[in-house]
Symmetry: C2
Subunit: 432 residues, 2 copies
């Protein structure tokens, strides 16, 4: 480890998602030594991952290398590492690259899928770049195999798609796959009968997009149904054998079940879990300090700040994560400077969800919209939010090209060699 003798306090940020990244950005060239840890060497723009899964964007367009982001920040160091344990008594973080001392620890590890008893090995999830590429590879490979499959039930199982969870991710995936089914796949697979392919969206409560207003839910459902998606409400999927799934009393053959129906906080070893907080989130006070700790903070999806307005904690959304991240960054500078930190309050700027070309729903402070205008807003906001000029340009071009040609250019099944050398070390002594 590089030893930098310094009297500045050390802040370690675990996780470079929306929350952790914003905290780090607020600390650039401030009086603190900052270490950012992540298991990937890039930031992931999660809201567009579903387009990677559905062959509309390449994975590199929705990510951005951390080292590039922090290039001009003299006090910020990035490390590719995973956390094994927090030892809060000794202000020490144990990681895959050794033990690190901290003065302040910021946990921003987000969430992972929660399966509620379902076998995780049989379903696909949609949280990471790896997940998105896995979905793309699986679906495209299934179509190739369907061509060679004489058994009609097996063929249906290969090309049927069941998405469980009617939140934004599920809705966006269902819409994008419906567009593939309607515009792209018939041209790519003229030998396959596309009528055999059904896209199901299954939601546990009585409407999709339950976090939005009822009118938006209804509009989104109508869009999806017009595109051919079969929406089933009030239905929980509790069992799946990898071959077929029960929906509404019917047995739907499918090898492709995408699970977007629930998340739980990524646990951090050494931090006490509080059992009565939903989804394993960590309870924090109004400055995002974990209850019971002096100098350990949690932000974003991981944290549950219970306020009068949000008695269950804030919604687990990117804008909350970004605002908490920014706010904590500012507060840490205050605390280091012996000033009083300010309590956090969330400013809700609205919600958008897209279904397909010219189809989206938006609830914004200045009004509710659906259709082309909402879709146009959605595109603009997401394009602006992407990190990096290159990503903005390439994504814009991909969207325009896809829009005018009714196409999705990136129908690539991208196998990889297993990457042996990643986290293990090859000691020189052993072989020398």
């Amino acid at each position: 480890m590089t030893s930098t003798k310094t009297s500045l306090p050390t802040i370690i940020i675990v996780g470079g998602g929306f929350a952790g990244l914003e905290t780090a950005r607020r600390l650039v060239n401030k009086p603190a030594e900052v270490i950012v840890l992540d298991r990937n060497n890039y930031f992931t723009f999660q809201p567009l991952l579903y387009q990677v899964a559905t062959a509309g964007l390449e994975m590199p367009s929705v990510v951005y290398p951390f080292r590039r982001i922090f290039r001009t920040a003299k006090n910020i160091r990035f490390r590719l590492a995973e956390v094994t344990k927090v030892d809060s008594e000794n202000n020490t973080l144990h990681t895959s690259i050794g033990a690190l001392s901290y003065d302040f620890l910021v946990l921003a590890t987000g969430t992972r899928p929660a399966f509620f008893g379902l076998d995780p090995s049989r379903v696909m999830t949609m949280k990471t770049t790896q997940d998105a590429q896995f979905i793309r590879n699986t679906i495209l490979t299934a179509f190739e195999r369907a061509l060679e499959t004489p058994d009609s039930k097996e063929r249906k199982a290969l090309i049927n798609l069941v998405i469980v969870g009617g939140g934004p991710t599920g809705v966006e995936l269902a819409g994008a796959f419906a567009e593939m089914k309607n515009y792209v796949l018939p041209r790519d697979y003229p030998d396959l009968d596309m009528e055999c392919m059904n896209i199901h969206l299954v939601e546990g409560v009585d409407r999709i997009l339950p976090a939005m207003d009822e009118s938006s839910s209804r509009a989104a459902q109508k869009y999806l149904e017009n595109m051919g998606v079969r929406v089933t409400l009030n239905t929980l999927v509790k069992e799946y054998d990898g071959v077929s799934v029960q929906i509404d009393g019917q047995d739907i053959p499918t090898h492709n079940l995408i699970w977007t129906a629930g998340v739980e906080a990524n646990p951090v070893e050494g931090i006490d879990q509080v059992k009565d907080v939903k989804g394993n989130r960590l309870p924090v006070d109004r400055i995002n300090r974990i209850v019971g700790y002096r100098n350990v903070f949690a932000i974003g999806d991981l944290a549950a700040m219970q306020t009068d307005e949000y008695p269950q904690g804030h919604p687990q959304l990117a804008p909350v994560a970004m605002q908490q991240g920014k706010h904590l960054g500012k507060n840490l500078i205050q605390i280091i400077g012996q000033q009083q930190p300010e309590p956090f309050s969330y400013s809700d700027k609205g919600t958008l969800a897209t279904v397909g070309r010219n189809k989206a729903v938006a609830e914004l402070p200045f009004g509710k919209f659906k259709g082309f205008f909402a879709w146009f807003l959605w595109m603009g906001i997401h394009l602006m939010s992407l990190v990096g000029f290159r990503n903005k340009v390439v994504t814009f071009f991909n969207w325009m090209s896809g829009y005018f040609r009714y196409d999705r250019a990136l129908r690539i099944i991208q196998y990889q060699k297993p990457h042996k050398r990643t986290h293990e070390r090859e000691p020189l002594e052993e072989n020398a």
Copy 2:
């Protein structure tokens, strides 16, 4: 299998590289049923793979889905499959998706690295998209690990790079890595001493780019040396333990050895190997028919057509493969129409190799060039040759952006989940 009753002859093309793709293109909407088999669902533009390995381009920019290429071709079917055996007595091809009957069989399986006794598991190769991404992941991960490595010899082993083979691939890789070392890595890794990093290029004969003129070889070597690459000539690497390698009597610690020093034809089970042809290539007559076979052809790197001008067969280059592919496509139409096929002759349009920004060498019918003009030509020709408008635009933008910002945007360590579902089948009966 979809059964299409037809009296048209069936042509199976194995391998969709430069050669196989051109044959198929010549057969679009001609009187033949054509099946193209490849183990990937996309064509790979190999000449730019080295830029994927060196973080200058994303992998999707240098590939193109076969189904998209053949979308308007009613008589061409693509299948994702691997060949297991040719049964030429019964005109049958055995593959991972079953047995296929053919009237004419075109083999275009290209080459694979030849290691001459070296342990393949210790070196990296540069033939496929998977190889290129593996190199990028490995080198970027090694830099991350070097930051945490106290032992200075181990640290050098992590960041030193040895490229064996001074052909175009080796030269282009060495140049691109030298640019990363000079412009990108010092900004990304300010904590690492870049003087510790050495890039070695090792060639067996007395000059690099031995297929070009001596003046080009000298110019390319000078470019590389000015950029800091250590070029060693007349040296064969015969041993490598994964930890260090002997070059010129010196022991160079490195975990990163990239092998571009030799290739051999991909063998096709069931086709007789002829031992006296260099690199296991298959001897073909002047219409690319494999010697001893009536209706089985070989084209591109796989084939050795021994002529007066090329007693060892043509050079294993993309232009030869493309010309042979085109020519065979035309000849097959002739043969099907009971016309006489024409003998092949190669028209050499010149050679280019690039070293770095503003640095390349070109030998063209109208003159020899080096420096900026050759580099500019190289860019233009490669941009024009990329398949797909989207790829051209995205690549052009990446190049411009990299050129003016002295940067390589795609420094992404891209892990993947193991893709279980790829080639195995999950029979419905087993679980149902």
